[in-house]
């Protein structure tokens, strides 16, 4: 962990009716730290992310961002959505400017910040295009630009590359790492891919069980900036194995609670 914790999740619990989804879940994300969250599908990792974003409410426990309790979405937090969530009736430029326009930011400032964000994610020349005219990869670049243009202190990534084809996904992973190296910020990265979790994260938090709790936290000691060669390193492969075992091995003494 580097620096103070930007995000603190303390004893979080969540129920859907009679179903316990999360229980006594605690974690932190540092000021310049990427924390990956992995877990089997249905384990509540996206729900946890939505609670941090203020879109869902916890039944117990507390979430604080820079000391502020999260009860509704905070302006210092941005989210990148699994299915992009671009408005089909707005062109790329207006989609990316959406958050700034809602805050009545001055025109010239919007102009400047949106142009910079478009440049950063490599969408120059597509400002006037509509989402339905673009590939999934390009749409998610726009989703990323829309989040980054707000200059968030915490970036929430909800399986951002899972709806994108495999080759584009790899490309976007390294581009996100490049962008993060330019302006590092706290990031919570939810994914169902172990490779992606290890590649992106400074730490990997493994959620499992019913209800979900933190089964393991692995520190990723891979060098930054992360180059493509890192995925072939023995350190990467070893970590991937550890996380795999964290996810799928039956923990001793707790086996009855984990379905096979």
């Amino acid at each position: 962990m580097n620096g103070d914790a930007r995000l603190v999740v303390e004893n979080a619990s969540l129920r859907y009716g009679a179903l316990d989804v999360l229980s006594a879940l605690s974690l932190t994300v540092g000021e310049r730290e990427i924390v990956s969250i992995v877990g089997p599908s249905g384990c509540g990792k996206t729900t946890l992310l939505r609670c941090v974003g203020g879109l869902n409410q916890l039944n117990g426990g507390e979430i604080r961002i820079d000391g502020q309790r999260v009860e509704k979405p905070l302006p210092i937090v941005s989210m990148v959505f699994q299915h992009f969530g671009l408005f089909p009736w707005k062109n790329l430029w207006s989609n990316i400017a959406y958050g700034l326009a809602l805050k009545h930011t001055p025109k010239d400032e919007i102009e400047r910040r949106v142009s910079a964000a478009i440049e950063l994610v490599g969408l120059k020349g597509f400002e006037k295009s509509y989402p339905h005219q673009l590939s999934g990869g390009m749409q998610q670049r726009a989703g990323l630009a829309r989040a980054l243009v707000m200059e968030p202190k915490l970036l929430l990534m909800d399986e951002p590359f899972s709806a994108i084809d495999a080759q584009t996904r790899e490309q976007l992973q390294f581009e996100l790492l490049r962008i993060w190296d330019q302006r590092p910020t706290a990031m919570m990265f939810v994914t169902h891919s172990i490779d992606e979790a290890v590649l992106m994260g400074d730490r990997v938090v493994v959620l499992a069980g019913r209800p979900s709790h933190v089964r393991a936290v692995r520190t990723v000691k891979l060098p930054r900036p992360r180059e493509r060669s890192v995925v072939a390193s023995s350190a990467f492969i070893e970590l991937r194995e550890q996380v795999w075992h964290d996810l799928f091995d039956q923990p001793a003494g707790n086996g009855a609670r984990v379905q096979q």
Partner: protein, 258 residues
């Protein structure tokens, strides 16, 4: 089939309705000439009646009165329908209060209301306008309510995350995402508006194209009567084509049935 034949096949598809129309008119023409008296309308008679009908000031007065009233009614009815529809779609309580009545009226043939409207405003063009407004308002309110209720949840999440207030959700998300529904409602309202405008003219003796269809026919000038009918048909077809373009312009992302 060789690749060369493709364009010919497409042309034939387009020619088919023209051929069908010509055959039908030929049958009509021959039938009337062979078996019916002279004053009964036939295609050649309608064509011959066009110059004299179109040359009369009365014709243009009728067109302006009827189509003007329909367009005015569509604009007012759509505007009110969209506002009420968004309110019903986004506020559950408003939907509870209004939904039953709007949907009941929607299912009712509005011609049934004509006598009541005549009682209110008399045998006046205002009766036609009111009926057209109601004809358009109802389907637009219903489709707008359905469209704004069924917003993709992702859009709402994005709105919340980026700090959208209620009015930003209504007019910035719900309304544009419901646009294809709203246009469908206006299209339906337009068709009903045309039908009911003509019905009011006939039932309340309000001057216009519909009334002239009947007066010409009663004067045994069937050909002139049918010139009006053809003009109404052209208007209806034009409205439909216009609405498809309108939707494509408003909602280019939407891939509907046509």
């Amino acid at each position: 089939m060789s690749a060369m034949r493709r364009p010919r096949w497409a042309t034939r598809e387009r020619l088919a309705p023209v051929v069908a129309g010509l055959v039908l008119m030929a049958i009509w023409e021959i039938w009337v000439r062979a078996t019916l008296p002279d004053f009964v309308a036939r295609p050649s008679g309608i064509v011959m009646a066009i110059p004299s009908t179109v040359a009369s000031l009365e014709f243009w007065f009728d067109v302006a009165a009827t189509l003007g009233s329909i367009l005015e009614g569509v604009i007012i009815g759509s505007a009110v329908g969209v506002l009420i529809g968004v309110a019903m779609g986004r506020v559950r309580e408003i939907d509870w209060f209004l939904s039953t009545y709007i949907r009941a009226l929607y299912a009712l043939p509005l011609v049934a209301l004509v006598p009541i409207v005549i009682l209110w405003v008399g045998y006046q063009p205002a009766a036609r306008l009111i009926i057209v407004i109601i004809s358009v308002f109802l389907p637009v309110a219903v489709t707008t309510a359905d469209g704004t209720r069924a917003i993709n949840k992702d859009y709402l999440d994005v709105g919340m995350m980026f700090g959208a207030r209620t009015r930003d959700v209504w007019f910035g998300i719900a309304l544009p995402s419901a646009m294809p529904f709203i246009v469908a409602g206006i299209e339906l309202g337009f068709a009903r508006g045309i039908t009911n405008a003509i019905a009011v003219e006939v039932l309340a003796s309000v001057k216009g194209m519909g009334m002239s269809v009947f007066t010409k026919s009663n004067e045994l000038n069937e050909n002139a009567s049918l010139v009006y009918v053809v003009c109404l048909a052209i208007f209806a077809v034009g409205v439909r084509a216009g609405m498809i373009r309108f939707r494509h312009w408003l909602a280019p992302w939407y891939r509907g049935s046509h």
